[in-house]
């Protein structure tokens, strides 16, 4: 499964919904880099959470002046 066309912040939210709070990155080939960590969620588990993650991302982005829907993004000063 390739995540190359996905928003990294949304994928990260989906990963977090799978109860994984460590760093993850989308590599240019579309696979996920876990930096050697074991026990991370599978691609299918992440994909199953994508719709929920995107909704949460959009809800946060639309409520903020900076449009940032990334998880744990601090509110920008006015």
């Amino acid at each position: 499964m390739s995540f190359s066309d996905k928003n990294p912040a949304i994928v990260t939210r989906a990963v977090t919904l799978c109860s994984w709070d460590k760093a993850v990155m989308i590599l240019p080939n579309g696979s996920l880099e876990w930096y050697g960590a074991e026990g991370h969620p599978t691609d299918d588990e992440i994909n199953a959470k994508m719709a929920e993650a995107e909704a949460a991302y959009e809800a946060q982005a639309s409520s903020r002046k900076d449009g940032n829907g990334a998880l744990n993004a601090p509110e920008e000063a006015d």
Partner: protein, 313 residues
């Protein structure tokens, strides 16, 4: 022979050899010019030659600005104190400081032709400054990303949120160097990538260098040296031209410590404040460039960036 005599000759490939190029020379003289007149008077024409380019000198005090037209050359030398330009002067001066150049000079090089690899070694040396910023993760001009007078790249914009990748000005060169940085201790991986400049198609193009590790590098080498709190690790990898090798994945991460990588006489090592890892035991002469790991949330603060001659200490 007048310059206009040969008009149809062609030169075969490889026929113009380096040894046959005219040795560049520069002469600065105080000249007297008359407006709309191509005749110039100076103290001595002994060091002047037909074909020399003419421009205002910034070597000495600039007098006579605006008197030399663009494209001016020496057309002929009349006597010991007088010569003719190919174009008339555009203003009158009695003490214009004029520079005469022969051989390959700046007048014969296009403005965009001087790329970073063509600069003198000293001008390519490392400097503690983040440059060539490229937005990632949807960042835009509302995100500052670089602060502390250009020495820190910073993106606390959520997990894998808007960020940026920048390059440290200069390159290590092939001799010794020291580069020190303070990586953040946050959710995103913070730190640097150190890449063999030979593997980068055009380091003047911010979009050309890899934005992630071990990509588009072919046979060239790259090191990733980063720190992270979510994984609580100090993480070092080496793309050796064909394989990505994990050199270190150790806990805990460093919270505020200053890492540094250095090379002495071909020995390349990195300190992550906890320990030292040998990246190459001997014979390393690659010239490296540095760019930051760009995963928000992160910052990377440059503490030192120094290119050095090979000193063997």
């Amino acid at each position: 022979m007048a310059r206009s005599k040969i008009i149809t000759a062609s030169i075969g490939d490889g026929e113009v050899e380096t040894r046959n190029l005219e040795t560049p020379t520069s002469v600065t003289l105080v000249c007297q010019l008359t407006n709309a007149d191509a005749t110039v008077t100076t103290t001595s024409t002994a060091n002047l030659k037909v074909g020399m380019t003419i421009k205002h000198s910034h070597v000495t005090n600039v007098h006579g600005e605006g008197s030399i037209p663009a494209g001016a050359e020496i057309l002929s030398i009349t006597n010991a104190t007088t010569f003719e330009m190919n174009l008339p002067a555009t203003a009158a001066y009695t003490d214009a400081s004029i520079q005469f150049d022969s051989g390959v000079n700046t007048n014969r090089i296009a403005n965009s032709a001087i790329t970073t690899p063509k600069l003198r070694d000293h001008d390519q040396s490392l400097e503690p400054l983040w440059t060539n910023l490229v937005y990632t993760g949807g960042a835009n001009s509302t995100h500052r990303l670089i602060d502390e007078y250009g020495t820190r790249v910073y993106a606390h914009n959520g997990n894998n949120g808007p960020s940026g990748i920048a390059r440290v000005k200069g390159r290590t060169g092939h001799d010794d160097f020291i580069f020190a940085w303070q990586p953040d201790y946050n959710w995103g991986f913070a730190g640097i990538f150190m890449t063999d400049v030979a593997g980068l198609p055009n380091i003047d193009d911010p979009g050309a260098y890899p934005r992630f590790y071990h990509t588009n590098l072919g046979n060239f080498h790259q090191y990733q040296m980063v720190n992270n709190s979510s994984n609580n690790v100090r993480y070092i990898t080496h793309w050796d031209g064909s394989t990505n090798n994990l050199l270190q994945n150790a806990s805990p991460g460093t919270n505020g410590g200053v890492w540094y990588v250095w090379r002495v006489n071909g020995l390349l090592r990195v300190s992550d404040t906890v320990g030292t890892v040998t990246l190459q035991a001997s014979g390393d002469t690659r010239s490296y460039v540095f760019h930051n790991s760009s995963q928000s949330s992160h910052f990377c603060r440059i503490k030192q960036a120094t290119s050095l001659p090979r000193q063997g200490a």
